[in-house]
Symmetry: D2
Subunit: 464 residues, 4 copies
Amino acid sequence: MRTGRFSDVAAEIAQRYSQSVSFDWRLYRHDIAGSIAHAAALAHAGILTSEEREKIDKGLREIETEIENGKFEWDQSLEDVHMNIEAALTKRIGVAGAKLHTARSRNDQAALDLRLYVKAEIGEIRSGLRSLQSALLHLAEQHIDVVMPGYTHLQRAQPIFFAHYMLAQIEAFERDADRLSDCLTRTDVLPLGVGALAGSTIVLNRTFVAGQLGFSSVSQNSIDAVGDRDFVAEFLFCLAMIGLHLSRLSEDLIIWSTNEFGFVEFSDAFSTGSSLMPQKKNPDMAELTRGKTGRLYGNLVSILTTVKALPSSYNRDLQEDKHALFDSVDTVKAALEVFAAMLPELTVNRERMERAAGDPNLLATDLAEHLVKKGMAFREAHEVVGKLIARASEKNLALDNLSLLEMQEASPLFGEDVTTIFDARRSLEKRGAIGAPSPENVAARIEHWRRLLDQTVAAGVPPA
Amino acid sequence: MRTGRFSDVAAEIAQRYSQSVSFDWRLYRHDIAGSIAHAAALAHAGILTSEEREKIDKGLREIETEIENGKFEWDQSLEDVHMNIEAALTKRIGVAGAKLHTARSRNDQAALDLRLYVKAEIGEIRSGLRSLQSALLHLAEQHIDVVMPGYTHLQRAQPIFFAHYMLAQIEAFERDADRLSDCLTRTDVLPLGVGALAGSTIVLNRTFVAGQLGFSSVSQNSIDAVGDRDFVAEFLFCLAMIGLHLSRLSEDLIIWSTNEFGFVEFSDAFSTGSSLMPQKKNPDMAELTRGKTGRLYGNLVSILTTVKALPSSYNRDLQEDKHALFDSVDTVKAALEVFAAMLPELTVNRERMERAAGDPNLLATDLAEHLVKKGMAFREAHEVVGKLIARASEKNLALDNLSLLEMQEASPLFGEDVTTIFDARRSLEKRGAIGAPSPENVAARIEHWRRLLDQTVAAGVPPA
Amino acid sequence: MRTGRFSDVAAEIAQRYSQSVSFDWRLYRHDIAGSIAHAAALAHAGILTSEEREKIDKGLREIETEIENGKFEWDQSLEDVHMNIEAALTKRIGVAGAKLHTARSRNDQAALDLRLYVKAEIGEIRSGLRSLQSALLHLAEQHIDVVMPGYTHLQRAQPIFFAHYMLAQIEAFERDADRLSDCLTRTDVLPLGVGALAGSTIVLNRTFVAGQLGFSSVSQNSIDAVGDRDFVAEFLFCLAMIGLHLSRLSEDLIIWSTNEFGFVEFSDAFSTGSSLMPQKKNPDMAELTRGKTGRLYGNLVSILTTVKALPSSYNRDLQEDKHALFDSVDTVKAALEVFAAMLPELTVNRERMERAAGDPNLLATDLAEHLVKKGMAFREAHEVVGKLIARASEKNLALDNLSLLEMQEASPLFGEDVTTIFDARRSLEKRGAIGAPSPENVAARIEHWRRLLDQTVAAGVPPA
Amino acid sequence: MRTGRFSDVAAEIAQRYSQSVSFDWRLYRHDIAGSIAHAAALAHAGILTSEEREKIDKGLREIETEIENGKFEWDQSLEDVHMNIEAALTKRIGVAGAKLHTARSRNDQAALDLRLYVKAEIGEIRSGLRSLQSALLHLAEQHIDVVMPGYTHLQRAQPIFFAHYMLAQIEAFERDADRLSDCLTRTDVLPLGVGALAGSTIVLNRTFVAGQLGFSSVSQNSIDAVGDRDFVAEFLFCLAMIGLHLSRLSEDLIIWSTNEFGFVEFSDAFSTGSSLMPQKKNPDMAELTRGKTGRLYGNLVSILTTVKALPSSYNRDLQEDKHALFDSVDTVKAALEVFAAMLPELTVNRERMERAAGDPNLLATDLAEHLVKKGMAFREAHEVVGKLIARASEKNLALDNLSLLEMQEASPLFGEDVTTIFDARRSLEKRGAIGAPSPENVAARIEHWRRLLDQTVAAGVPPA
């Protein structure tokens, strides 16, 4: 924005460098909504006649339609989405357009557009999380009784249900939804009306504007309002966390789909081949998603770095908030969509899972707990079973192939009933504490999530 | 933890590399509290007699006292805080100690200790934020009517009150407190009782344990519970944001304390000199704090990187969560403490601020709005005033030294009343919209924060 | 790439998610150059007839022209730049095209294209650094005898020459050029010919291919060659460091262009105004550049995160290397270009600088060294002068306005000659150690850089 | 450092916050070496008598011995390692000590100590890399003819030698060594003698000092020299890259040591068990190392953030460079040491590897290349073999169990000789291009590295 004060036009190279319309045009809908609300406030304050206000409304809506139809000509010499739309409006309706920017700065206007954008995208992404959770839940329901090894340190640990694994994923994504909801609360604050950093001598009714635009509250300090990008950083953090969770889910699925594990197989429609090796079928969607964690983390670092040690209020550095923001939003939405579509086509290889879950070593802890129930202190039982494991390994036997005699040598507490231990399903039945994978618990959690997801789907966009 | 299964002792180098007790000993209080609650649950479940339980309680409390008195001997060959305390207990009380780890894994135990630690530190840091806000508010109150230039792009923009600036800082730190409060909700979930990743065949009452330890809820999925470090990442993000806000405040104060600005001066007690240059008095506390943003951001990146693409449930990588966590906590607490102590000693140079605020260019927007009130469209008024600025600059005159005639050449709407514009204080009086810096608004916000801060101070540790 | 092995087409959503042609099309020139060299090797190995090879060459060059003229139709269903060009070639020339991918995988092909791209861009950016250094040097030459205060901790420290400051900047950017040169050495290694990860049973002459494409060496391990993105990470680190240096230069210029400092003024052509405040003239180019450090750091974090803990050799995650790479390259090139154009138009306000440099406190160290030369130990001298500073401050006097008597009270070593100390220019003349800002040193360094820069400009693109 | 200028002592809290001696004491050896060289220069310049210089030398060496024996009392009120040693010296030897800081500032002194430290640690870490490479090479030599599947996308791709994999790792760590060597060149520049930022009126011979301390060159600009931390950032980047490479190696080993892969087994001495599950043997060293990538990345981000947008020359923020630096150095050295000790004890399960490598699908590409050699275009051959894969899969047959007739239906080019294709070892023999895994190539590279590593080990610490 250059007016009477400047003796010279901007250098072409400076203009190209500093323009933002090539990317912030995406905010046009929010910009127009904001201007319509602002015009209403100006009319109330007597700055605009009601006729002028109507002209502005109509003009802006026409421009919006033009943009949506791809007919609007964006002009980089007008710097940004704000000046492009204002200039087009004034060209179209004359002096009323030239009044629109009264008591407004691009500082509060840009903050407004960004907050409206983030609010809208939080809704979309919460919705995407719901779809992903539905896909995960569906897998749990479909394969509710499939037993598989649970891993810690990627080493076989104890038997679990495949469904219990899927429910674990749902929990993690639920925390993401919660975080977004909290972020929304802090985003849902109207910045418009604070001007450049010190309000205006023309006083507008900001509560009225907030009502028009659907904001729950109004910013209480003008300096803070124009310089605050906390909501962007917090949103980018929330998106980075979704990326983190997707990367862990991807890692598991990639490992499970190796020849060696063979637990799952991606459908052809969500796999790709090799340009060289004809036999290859690669889990590319999961790999790409795991890889995209990089840009989600990078975008978070980007905004944090940009704002670090900035002087208070508005500085032009803040223009750099958008690139990272748009990129993370697009990335997360696409990833959620792909996973929600890909998971229903996942083949679960029950036979491979259950064969692996049949490894008697997975029940070593049960064996120790068996001794505990007979009165042995756990630390001692742990030691006894550890020695049995070593003994079996030396003799190249499976743990459940040791004779009762050998077991009794280790502890006289072992009796005939020891054979009942080596049954993964029976082991699972005993695991009834809250959060543990007994069949009842798994079924109850499936039921819990089914109800919750059906409700929110029924309700449309999930309430924040 | 190595028992019967291993034929060999750990290599000394491996032990040194993998031990965590040299840093996780800090968690001892939480570890002991957790063990006492766990023992209570084991007693309820009939695994411990009430006598054994009492022995455990007594033994653990004695160990706690020993640790607090610096008499406890930590042993790195016992790996971590958990095994050190358990081993000391068993040595002290015998077999009852060997029963304590029944139906518990270090996976859920470590998660528990960490959650208790984060919960406690969120309280401390919220308290530190309150102290900082009090110091900022006190400055606002003390200098309530000092006018200074507001800056955007670090260029003089419009007059503000110094107090309005301080209130802006309070707003930002309030968002930090809010974020911590939300983080607390997600941290306040009991992980203990989920075992390694699949619960136990010995079923404990987790709701009872949550009650004992003051948790509001209980984790609902065992796999998720042992592998989840979201609460650490979220907490580190909250701390990074506090660092961001401190870095911006520091930047302002450093710039304001230059010879050239001369707006503020740090007290000798919070300044340092130069080893070479005898005249120097440097704003080191603000600089160090700005610099520490680096480690707060770095620690956030650290935890995000560590957890990226980990297989689900527990992996030893997670041990690396503590270094970053402890460092950020210590850093933020120290910085908050220093600022809360340093700000009350800040000298505010009213004369330099008000002289700078007397720059008539700061009222150029008022001049344009003056024309708007007389009926000119804002864009036109902006252009007219821009030209006056250019004219004054050419003639090497201050804007308010242009003659009325010259102004009328630019617009006939100018009249004698234009002289009333060039008064920063009067300009501020007109800025009455919510969030704008009119004297009434500033006083009302000071009143608002005074009430709120007095309440929370009265209430002791702020409620989350 | 999906052939006979797949029973199903890719889901449209999967295709959209995994395609890279929308951004990797930028590599077309390198892809075509690589294919031409590969065809030559295939011909040598007898896989292609010389006629087939000629058809391939001609076909590829036609495609290149089409792309350059914007006539080529990119097809996202063909995934990437590689398959798009191969498919277009085969369509155009038939079976010879279908032979091109013999003994080649996209894994080595993508690595090749990326290395060729990075090699080219290192040249461009080194060239951009030279232009920036020239602009900085020009400022030094133009204002060679302007004295200004040097700052540490942003507090006035000692007098320097403005030219000495500019030379400091040149040094920093020279390290960037050096780093890029080292990075080039590690990038300049041919990956083509290692296939997917294990070479091929059809053996090609890789040394010949390296010669064709101008590579200095040939990768020695096929697994490493397809999975290695070190050169991308190192390049992004080099670019982040350029960003760091630009951010510090920007910070100085922004502070110097405040009303309060008034040391420099940006030209109108490289400043922007405010949409609200008619008087504003903001240093937006410097601010934007400072802000862009965020994306340069973010892009570095992005690639590091993506590659972290990847299994060896090629994984699809690596496709995510390009976004960060292209963005950092574009960002740095634009910033260098803007600074090289903006600096020559910078107004240097000699009068404001020299007035500030006249502050006698800047010579406090000289005063102490004056005492040292008369035999006092430096620590004592430092203390003596410190007290004089305090004395002067109490009496509200400038340091050089203390009477000789007062000075002698502090130390009898002071004599009439003390008055010669308070002359910034004379102080500078004494600073003759290597690297210190004596006029001779400054002139010699200007001479040094002038010679070096003239040479490299004369030589065209700087040799790496 | 507070002398006459200050009317007040530092607040205790400020002192605690700003002291660095609790961590920078580690630099004492470098600080003392620097002071001895500085005293020599002061003596040459006539500031010190030769007697004073000798006193200083002797005093400093005594202090060094005290520190090494743990007898030195560090005093936090003296801020840093520099002032602690200077104060102790002056206390010990009187006025000569008070002369030591002539023509020196902590700004150049701190830069000196840090550069000496980084130089020394680069040597150590290069040495650690050599040890790791030796361990990798030893594994390659021991198992030179073990065939295993090579993976891309973690899916079986083509046969490789286990030794070829190990050689790939050596290549990556060699790039790390190279990068460190380049970093060393840029670190090996003497900063001492530039004072606070503008040299001194007491001119010292910096070339002489550089010679005393073993620096190859002398910094050429005083402002740059005190504010430059490029060498720290570059070093931290190099260390982050080592972490990246270790994380990938760790990931492979963790996956290979699962029950499902079963390719390798860690020795008991480098594994740990579970506190709960008696059968567990976890690859903790590899997991911890993978996890530590987080802190290495975090430390890089930390220094980059701290220096971002700092005003030129020295600012106190720079004190924050040490924490990240020391932590990354300690982390990388420990990780290299552990891997070098752990790898020789790795059990390589030849039988499991070769069984997996017997999967005939690994030779699908060979089959296509077989057709190419008979004249078919590669793209067609790829399609033909893809269909055979699909056919075999449908019929639940291994690829090499399809009848010749079935193969000929797909292409009449197949003949009896097709059976020779399905032999992994024969396939490897054909892969003779540079970098490909033919037995000859693998042997030659082993020979290459053996010679190089023996040389550098013979030469002691590797030359940079």
